[in-house]
Amino acid sequence: MTQEKNIKIDTRHLNLYFHEEKILKDINLEITSNQILGIIGPAGSGKTTFLRSLNRMNELEPGWRVEGQILLDEIDIYNSELDVISLRKRVGIVFALPVALPMSIYENVVYGVRLSGIKDKARLDEIVEKSLSAAFLWDEVKDRLNLSGLRLSGGQQQRLCLARVLAMEPDVILLDEPCSGLDPISTTWIEDALTELKKNYTIILVTNNTMQAARVADKTAFFLMGELVEVGLTRQIFTTPVKKETNDYITGRFG
């Protein structure tokens, strides 16, 4: 592991079981800081499960078992003094379906930071403006921050979800098919925001839309049947993939 690679997350021989069914098989993946890693693969390939294992969201349901290691800044997130709550504050996630909590836009954004104990109104105001701006939503909602988050359109809600994660100033942002239900214009907003955000964050983007990975990801990983088939620079994966399965998937032979 050379110094210049600057590894943020490193998974080593990661196996994941759900009720004894092996969902992820021996995943070894190094994720570089300040880049966007795109993860592609057909439905059921384990890409969402992999993403959710990075901030331990899987374990909200009983029946999951983990083998191997996931290192975040060289600290094992499953077996160390790092507790799950601090982990989730450092590794934020945006889900496939935009879910605004049934409270005001303002309260949605500050939900996480309030839990961390920040109460100062001026500080919260500042966080709200900064996060909403970074998610390209500020201009649309700045005059109605007390409106219920549920009243926003789907695309706006998804940007609200992004802002909510940004407010916590995490190290890593996970995105689980964040544009799957959105219109093309909202998708563009999100993609632009991500490109801007990678300067400060490490981003992992699971997507069903291979073209999206091609557009925004620095590196791309291809998952199939719970295995990591191939990972490399996005351009290389899309032009000269090493594995036949990767080529088949990208050219649309299955999936």
Binding site: I85, R88, Y111, R164
Partner: protein, 278 residues
């Protein structure tokens, strides 16, 4: 000759429909019957003056007070226990032998006849704990009785809060209890309140438990350890001992009106809750 399925269907629907109409008709009959005889007796005076001559004449003021105090005390005790139980069942544990045991216990408690609650309250609160026939004994016994109602209704309400809200809250670094407090309970609140209101209704309707544990004093209570009488008990005594038909009907009308108000507001809240959910 074979009777055509279509014809059979018409006959079947007619019979089934008649059964339904009959059932609803009974409800309407009961309400109208009681109100028709009782409403003329009801007046501000009747509600807010003291009874005289064992309730043969005068009003029902102390009874009104008893009818408010007992359910309130029952709710103060049962609501935290019931809501706590349902929060634990839905949020803090997964289905297991223990949750099944708790549910089974709740179902059994719901099926226990009120006379048993009365016997228990009489021996435990009135006699062993020495509370005597009192608002305290009555309220606590009623609390035991309405616990299952509150647990079931609030469990359903808490369960109906979308899973995605919890997931979002956890993903933002909230603990379980923070998630419950900030997201789950505020959203389940109308449903939870419905359960509490239904508990109030059950307490107002109850007679056997109250006679055995709160007694039937006609005086205005001055402490929680005074005996008291609720409208249901008062009506029972007046009607059974034939003391005064007029006052019995007046009490019955106030009782039915109280029960209708409480239950209809519970339905109304539940309805709005469900409408908002969708």
């Amino acid at each position: 000759m074979r009777i055509s399925p279509k014809y059979t269907q018409i006959v079947a629907i007619t019979i089934l429909g008649a059964a339904t109409v009959f059932t609803v008709a009974i409800l309407i009959f009961i309400i109208i019957f009681v109100l028709e005889k009782g409403l003329p007796i009801l007046s501000f005076n009747f509600l807010f003056t003291n009874p005289t001559d064992m309730g043969r004449s005068g009003g029902i003021l102390p009874i009104l007070i008893g009818t408010v105090l007992l359910p309130v005390l029952a709710i103060i005790v049962a609501a935290p226990l019931g809501i706590g139980t349902s929060v634990y069942l839905v949020e803090f544990t997964h289905e297991s032998r223990i949750t099944r045991l708790i549910r089974f216990g709740t179902d059994c408690l719901a099926g226990v006849p009120s006379i048993i609650f009365g016997l228990f309250g009489f021996i435990f609160f009135v006699t062993i704990l020495g509370m005597g026939w009192s608002i305290m004994s009555g309220g606590l016994s009623l609390a035991f009785m309405i616990l299952p109602t509150i647990i079931r209704t609030s469990e359903e309400a808490i369960r109906s809060v979308p899973k995605a809200y919890r997931e979002v809250s956890f993903s933002l670094g909230a603990s379980r209890w923070q998630t419950v407090r900030k997201v789950v309970l505020p959203n389940a609140l109308p449903g939870v309140v419905t359960g509490v209101v239904l508990g109030v209704g059950r307490s107002i309707e109850e007679t056997a438990v109250v006679i055995f544990t709160a007694g039937s004093s006609l005086l205005i209570p001055t402490s929680l350890f005074d005996s008291t009488r609720t409208m249901a008990v008062h009506f029972y005594i007046l009607a059974r001992e034939g003391l005064s038909m007029d006052n019995a009907y007046g009490t019955a009308a106030s009782l039915i009106i109280a029960v209708l108000i409480v239950n209809l507001s519970a339905y109304w809240m539940m309805h709005r809750f469900i409408a908002r959910r969708n």
